[in-house]
Structure formats: structure tokens, C-alpha cells
Amino acid sequence: MSSIIYAMLDEFFDEKCMVDALFQIKGELKEKLPINRLKVIIQVTIELIQNIINHSNIYSDLKEGKREGYGNFLLIKNGITEYQIITSNPINKKQKEILQNRVNELKKLNKSELKTLLKERIRSRINSHQKGAGVGLIRIFISSVSDIKVDFQPIDDEVYMFSMEIIFR
């Protein structure tokens, strides 16, 4: 049996939405999960919602250089011990190609290799002052204890719905 812990569907996400989502998720799970399991779910939620805010192809610019991005977020409890997060947001063709390559690269690596890659990417970002070198995605792969499902559903020739499904056991 599955139950919804938190859902934000067909919505625009901004910083306040993320804080509210995390507050509710922590409140719901704090007494039910040991801190190490809760921490993984929270950290991954942070990365995923910030991904929607920063990289959704449908977005609005807000004050102080902030953004809101369109997407979906769903946290489900399956059975007694399993939790699942599903997120999606639209991206353009170029973003899809970059993401697909990154995901394919990350899927080949074990945890130790992912941690090494994370350090390399952080170092390259510091040295070149780049943003978005896939550091958040690597952290998600490090945090996950099972395979991560990634999908790109075409909406039209230029836009795809990027979705991720992560299971926590």
C-alpha cells in the first residue's frame, strides 16, 4: 500500500515553496525515521527542488536574482519501509543532451568513484567559477541506495519532460 507524504504537482517552485516542503516533510517523518534515513531524503529533496527552481524550462525571474521554476514533486511511502521521490520538470533539447550524457556517465560509477568525481567537479567549478557542473546530480547518485530511473519524454521537437524516480529503502 502506498501513501502520499508530500505532493506539489503542476506548480511553480520558489525558495519559499522549498522551505515549506522541507518543513512539512521533516514534520511528517521526524518521528518515523532514524536521522540518517531522514537526512538522505531531505538532502535529495533539496537538490531536486533546487534543480526545478534553477533549471526548469518554464520559469519566471523573481526579485534579487531569484527564480521560480515549473515542475512536479511527489514523496510517497511504499509499504512499511520504502520511500520514493518522483520529480519532473520541462527542459530544452540542449539541456536534455547534457543531462542524458551526465546520467549515463554517473550510472557507470560506484559510490567511491562518484565521491571522487564530486571532488573533481567541485574543484573545476571553483577554478573556473562555473555553476551547474552537475554537482547536485552527483550528490543525488551518492545518496541513493538503489537505481535511479531517469526519463525524457518529448513534449515537442524542442522540449522534453525530464523526470527522476528515486527509491529509498
Partner: protein
């Protein structure tokens, strides 16, 4: 040199930087949307502090949830500490929740990367 105190919010930590006492405290959760903007004055303070540091610099880090941009900022902070380790004795206290059985993952990650620095793991009970 001015001391800095930044009040914590839901997604950004309390930061207390005290030159007179040689103490640096970062406590709370860290996932502000514009993480680099948030930490920019803090990094600037570190550069200024290490021009004339105290003999002993005590760093207390209590971070539970943080985003990937914060990890990058922590790398930058520890880089600054490594570059200045000969000017002051730097003591880094890494606080963790005693109930978090995976606390050592984050601790080792930084301690191994910055092996020229000394990290102390300090367990605490968080409500």
C-alpha cells in the same frame, strides 16, 4: 576589524565571526537559493581575518542539511584555512548528531580532502 553576526533562517545558518576571540561559528541548515551570494561576505571576512589572525582560531561547524553549493563553499573555506594554517593554530570542530549513524561520511569526506587541517568530530544530541 568588524565582527559579523548573521541570524539564521529556515534555509540559511547562523554565522558568528569574531576576530577578537578568533572564533568562527556556522550553525544550522544551509541551502539558500543564492548560496554563493550568502557566503560571499563570509569568505571576504576570512581573507581579512587571516591578514592578522589570533594565535588560535576555533571553528565550530554544526551543519545538518546542506545543498551542493554549500559543499562547494565549504571547499573554498577549507582552502582558505589550509593556505593560512601557518599563521594561526586552526581547530575545526565538526559537530554531528549522535543519532546519525552515517555522520562519518560527511566528516571523512572533508577530513580526507583537507588532510593538512585537523578536524575534531564532536557528537551532540539534537532535539
Amino acid at each position: 576589524m568588524k565582527n559579523i553576526e548573521i541570524a539564521g533562517k529556515d534555509n540559511s545558518p547562523t554565522v558568528v565571526l569574531n576576530h577578537t576571540e578568533g572564533t568562527i561559528k556556522i550553525t544550522g541548515e544551509s541551502y539558500p537559493e543564492n548560496t554563493f551570494d550568502f557566503y560571499q561576505p563570509i569568505l571576504a571576512w576570512f581573507y581579512k581575518y587571516f591578514e592578522v589572525p589570533q594565535k588560535i582560531t576555533t571553528v565550530d561547524l554544526h551543519l545538518l542539511y546542506f545543498n551542493s553549493s554549500t559543499v562547494q563553499v565549504l571547499f573554498e573555506i577549507f582552502d582558505i584555512f589550509e593556505e593560512n594554517r601557518d599563521k594561526t593554530k586552526i581547530i575545526i570542530n565538526w559537530y554531528y548528531d549522535q543519532e546519525d549513524s552515517d555522520w562519518q561520511d560527511d566528516f571523512d569526506y572533508f577530513a580526507e580532502e583537507f588532510e593538512l587541517l585537523t578536524f575534531n568530530a564532536v557528537g551532540e544530541h539534537r532535539a
